[in-house]
């Protein structure tokens, strides 16, 4: 118990003193996970929305695979990306193994199914309720998915939080493809694992507290944004356009 309380007090002093080692690990973690979420969301929002309205042979099988990927172990993702990026692998020429880029790629692959599956469910439910009305107005499937995506934007913020939470809290994938190299690929979760195994509990605990604080802060920020937008929505500008321009390649 003493060890624990000592660790907590040391952790707080490390955080309060803005320890540079701690800071660099935290910033790297945030950068990797934020970039991975950005990439996964860019693809996942569009693909998930399309899956929500599209009907094709084999869709059920695609959804089963997608839902299975929600439970994809991060260490398996790490292993697959490792094999792809290793010198003898098909992407070995990139030279990304044990780099920042490899960690971003691994977390993107890990988070993409989460974004796609949750967006697909949200859009499919909305389309079941309201899709006919857009169809009546002349919106094709692509346009319907984009309009519903835009209209469900506040709900989808929660999806993005879930995706970021999955990315920043995983350890297996970044450990395998990043190698936990001090000053280069060490992030919060890999550092916690390492420091715990070394017995440096204060640093491990400080990182753990920061990890929680980051996720908490993000949740608070998104809740504030949601509340602010809902208030702003009561008094919209005259030319508020649901989509500023037609999306190329999507029939109205």
């Amino acid at each position: 118990m003493n060890t624990f309380s000592d660790s907590v007090s040391t952790a707080f002093s490390l955080i309060a003193s803005l320890d540079p080692l701690l800071g660099s690990i935290v910033l790297r973690s945030l950068a990797v996970s934020a970039l991975a979420c950005l990439l996964a969301s860019s693809a996942g929002l569009v693909l998930g929305a399309w899956l929500g309205v599209a009907r094709f042979r084999g869709r059920g099988a695609v959804l089963t695979v997608l839902n299975t990927l929600l439970a994809l172990p991060s260490v398996v993702v790490g292993l697959v990306i490792y094999l792809l990026l290793s010198r003898s692998g098909p992407l070995g020429f990139l030279g990304w193994l044990f780099s920042f880029k490899a960690m971003v790629l691994a977390q993107t692959v890990l988070v993409l199914p989460v974004v796609m599956a949750l967006v697909r469910q949200t859009i499919e439910d909305a389309d079941r309720l309201h899709g006919e009305q857009f169809q009546s107005l002349g919106a094709g499937k692509g346009m319907r998915s984009l309009l519903l995506l835009w209209d469900e934007r506040y709900t989808l913020l929660t999806v993005l939080i879930a995706a970021f939470g999955r990315a920043i809290s995983e350890v297996g994938a970044v450990m395998v493809v990043g190698g936990n190299i001090d000053g280069f690929t060490r992030v919060m979760t890999t550092a916690i694992a390492l420091e715990t195994s070394k017995g440096d509990l204060p640093l491990a605990l400080a990182l753990g507290l920061l990890l929680l604080a980051v996720v908490l802060l993000l949740n608070v920020l998104i809740a504030l944004v949601r509340r602010w937008r809902e208030r702003v929505d009561q008094d919209l500008p005259a030319d508020a356009s649901p989509l500023q321009a037609r999306q190329p390649g999507i029939a109205p």
Binding site: H130, F134, S136, G138, L236, D239
Partner: protein, 229 residues
Amino acid sequence: MTVLFDMKGVGVHFGKVQALQACALRINAGERVALVGSNGSGKSTLLRTLHGLVRPTVGTLQVDGAARQAMLFQHPYMLRTSARANVALGLWLKGVAWSEANNQALHALERVGLGALAQRNAKALSGGQQQRLALARAWALQPDVLLLDEPTASLDPGAKREVEALMAEFAQAGMTLIFSSHNLGQVKRLASRVMYLEHGRLLADLPTQDFFNGPLPLEAEIFVKGEIV
């Protein structure tokens, strides 16, 4: 007289459910057709079939392709944006440039008495206002045929009167109206022809006066008495 819809032996099946069975009808331009019947009788399916949202499983449906259509749903869905943008969206989807669509949208909102609320979030409007907004969105498309699925079902008496007045004005201007309703008073006031459906079958198709005065099939007779009493 231009025939807008010519339906012969149309049936619509959703799995094992037969939503419409052997429906035959012809609707001409300028008519005001009311669809009546109990819940689940097939009124909404018939409207959605006429509008092209549902394909007949059997039978043939010929539609005048030159006639523009718009449909008003019982619970109109509005995007989380201004009333004006919601109306403009319908026009934009038909190929009207956004700035022009915005101008036309304002005109349409003024037409239904919502000009002052153009900038308000559509989701923040009352049920009656949302229904009028949906009417504006439909009217902005300048349809020849307006299909309405229980347009006043969930509105208070004041909002009901407003929506009914707009429907009457649209009909006066030559628009063909096809609407479903449980309100037989409204049917009397607005319709020139009444169709009675039960279990997906079209059991009566009569001019309004004949429907309320003349002999009816037993099922329709019971329905009318039940609704009026």
